[in-house]
């Protein structure tokens, strides 16, 4: 696949627009969430889902295809009245009549790599969402080796969890443990199928108050329906799996949900600082323990709604410890002033960003079409002698309508400029030829041939036709 092929793959609408829309909307949301102080954690997290929804919408409108169909027009140069030499010589100007060209439409289909990627994303995303909703808790329990506690085990904790669940008006989730010696807690499943899981490591290092604080954080996730939030965000990320920004957007959204869960959890606690103490202890403890492998980390992250384990980095699903501690100790009051300067600025910036991005993306498509045409022209005119340089190529238009099959190729041989035009429609031909020449080459046509190639030379006194006949290729491809 050449450069032209790669461009052709990238500029397929389902791929191109899904990537562009995700990038632009993510940047807009980033600006809005940074400057709009009235936005709460819940709103911010939902806003970060927006960039992930757009590619899906694009793919549903411009449904991906597994093949890219390209139609080329081939101008076949036929001989005139049995004079093959004249037919294949250039320029024809002084030696009329010119050869008769014949246009052949050639259709070729190439495999659409981007289309297949989009299909994989759509299918994998749908499968992920369905399997999570149908079998998440059972699947996760099996994979993560979760052991459900009996009623007698850690009874005090189960009582506390039941009490807090009543306060939140949710079904008391089941409680489970995993053998992991690293301190961790997470939630799997949703609604009545929700299970809060503690690691042995966490139960070993935290006191009862801190364990209850961690449990409250997990209960807040259940109350906030974060299972569905995470399932949707992961499924949408899977749809755009080829776009790195999708992962960043999903991680940012999930970090906002963590802050939201912290805020809700401290409302349940008699001593809110216990949650901060627990997080500090957990962070200190894991510093001395080996890290999870990337694969384990990734797979468990898909299955669990929230893990208290603190990870750092742009793809972290949890905010930094200092940010969480600050949020726990003094939750940021939300400023409801829509008219604040920053808010206005954010909206203006976002609008400008979206507007310019749409303009740029449309210009890019236009550029790609022209580029492909130029590329095709230069590619297929390679058969010309090296002293001929292709200087322009474009699809012709008539009355503002693109005319397939109207094409112009100009090149110069250092002495003069010659332009070949083929116009299938006689009415359009002449007018188009004039217009095109005037606009693009900057001189008037000297000679126009009806019904075939038109060889135009500039009205320049120094112009002298090339004496040596130059061989033309048998055919010219027009993209």
């Amino acid at each position: 696949m050449g450069f032209e092929g790669i461009l052709n793959q990238i500029f397929q609408p389902y791929f191109y627009y899904s990537v562009i829309f995700l990038v632009v909307s993510f940047l807009s949301v980033k600006i809005l969430t940074k400057y709009c102080s009235f936005l709460g954690q819940r709103t911010k997290s939902l806003l970060y889902l927006f960039p992930l929804v757009l590619p899906l919408a694009v793919m549903l409108v411009a449904f991906p295809s597994t093949g890219i169909q390209t139609t080329y027009q081939q101008i076949k140069i036929l001989s005139t009245a049995g004079n093959n030499g004249a037919a294949n010589s250039f320029p024809f100007g002084p030696f009329f009549p010119p050869p008769v060209p014949q246009v052949i439409n050639v259709t070729s289909t190439v495999l659409s790599v981007t289309g297949i990627m989009c299909y994989i994303g759509l299918i994998a995303g749908a499968l992920f969402a369905v399997s999570m909703v149908l079998a998440d808790d059972r699947l996760a329990r099996k994979i993560l080796h979760v052991i459900l506690l009996s009623q007698e085990e850690h009874q005090w904790l189960q009582v506390k969890i039941t009490e807090a669940s009543k306060k939140l008006a949710i079904c008391a989730p089941k409680v489970g443990i995993v053998e992991d010696l690293r301190p961790n807690a997470f939630t799997i499943g949703y609604g009545k199928r929700a299970t809060i899981v503690f690691s042995i490591g966490l139960l070993n290092i935290l006191n009862k108050e801190e364990i209850v604080a961690v449990a409250s954080h997990e209960l807040a996730h259940v109350k906030n329906n974060d299972f569905f939030f995470k399932t949707i965000s992961n499924a949408l990320t899977t749809v755009s799996f080829f776009n790195p920004l999708a992962y960043i957007s999903a991680s940012t959204a999930q970090r906002e949900r963590e802050m939201l869960a912290d805020e809700r959890a401290i409302g349940l606690l008699e001593k809110p600082s216990a949650l901060g103490d627990a997080l500090v202890k957990i962070c200190k403890a894991i510093q001395n323990l080996p890290k999870e492998s990337m694969l384990v980390n990734f797979s468990s992250n898909l299955l669990i709604t929230s893990s208290v384990l603190h990870r750092v980095g742009i793809l972290a699903t949890h905010p930094r410890l200092d940010m969480r501690l600050r949020n726990i100790s003094a939750p940021k009051p939300h400023n409801n002033r829509w008219s604040s300067r920053n808010t206005r600025l954010a909206f203006v910036l976002s609008f400008l960003l979206i507007f310019s991005a749409v303009a740029v993306s449309l210009a890019m498509v236009d550029l790609q079409v022209n580029f492909t045409a130029d590329f095709a022209a230069s590619h297929y005119l390679k058969a010309f002698p090296s002293d001929f340089r292709v200087t322009g190529y474009q699809m012709g238009s008539f009355n503002g309508t693109l005319m397939p099959g109207v094409a112009a190729v100009s090149f110069n041989d250092a002495q003069s400029v010659h332009v070949l035009i083929y116009c299938p429609d006689p009415a359009a031909r002449i007018r188009t030829s004039y217009a095109e020449m005037g606009d693009n080459v900057g001189f008037n046509p000297q000679e126009i041939s009806v019904g075939g190639f038109i060889v135009i030379s500039p009205q320049n006194p120094s112009y002298s036709p090339i004496q040596t006949p130059i061989s033309l290729p048998d055919s010219i491809w027009i993209g």
Partner: protein
């Protein structure tokens, strides 16, 4: 696994059957499960899965039992890294026969230390030897016990 290791048990249960004479019923069950396990080392969860079927035990009970057996030096353990994170894996310090031999020897040694010849006489009385053979054996044993002391 060597026979020099001295498993730590502090009492002998007269009413206990087999290993339960030396260990608590749960400890004996856990040890039997570990010795009977095809795969060693084992995790707490694996032993819990086995015992849950027969005794309906809770995971935390099995975990604390295995922790106690480790403290008694009947089990060894190390931290392993796997799919479930970091976890302890356990294996017996002694093979079952070595453990039994070592435990009986310890009990006998304690009895002999405390009761000397009486122990030898009682042991010989439990055999199916003739009266003459018993007397001869008792004499020989008592001489050896006296020498040891």
């Amino acid at each position: 696994m060597t026979e020099d290791k001295k498993p730590g048990f502090s009492q002998y249960n007269m009413g206990g059957k087999a290993l339960e004479a030396f260990l608590g019923p749960l400890e004996a069950n856990v040890m039997e499960s570990i010795w009977g396990s095809r795969k060693t080392p084992v995790t707490v969860r694996e032993i819990y899965e086995v015992l849950k079927k027969t005794r309906g035990l809770a995971y935390t009970t099995v975990m604390s039992t295995m922790d106690r057996l480790f403290e008694k030096k009947l089990l060894d353990r190390k931290i392993e890294k796997g799919r479930g994170g970091l976890y302890y894996v356990y294996w017996p310090s002694l093979e079952k026969q070595s453990f039994q031999k070592s435990a009986v020897r310890e009990v006998l040694s304690s009895l002999i230390d405390n009761f000397g010849e009486v122990v030898a006489n009682c042991l010989v009385d439990e055999t199916s030897l003739s009266e003459e053979e018993r007397i001869a054996l008792k004499d020989q044993l008592n001489r050896n016990i006296s020498k040891k002391k």
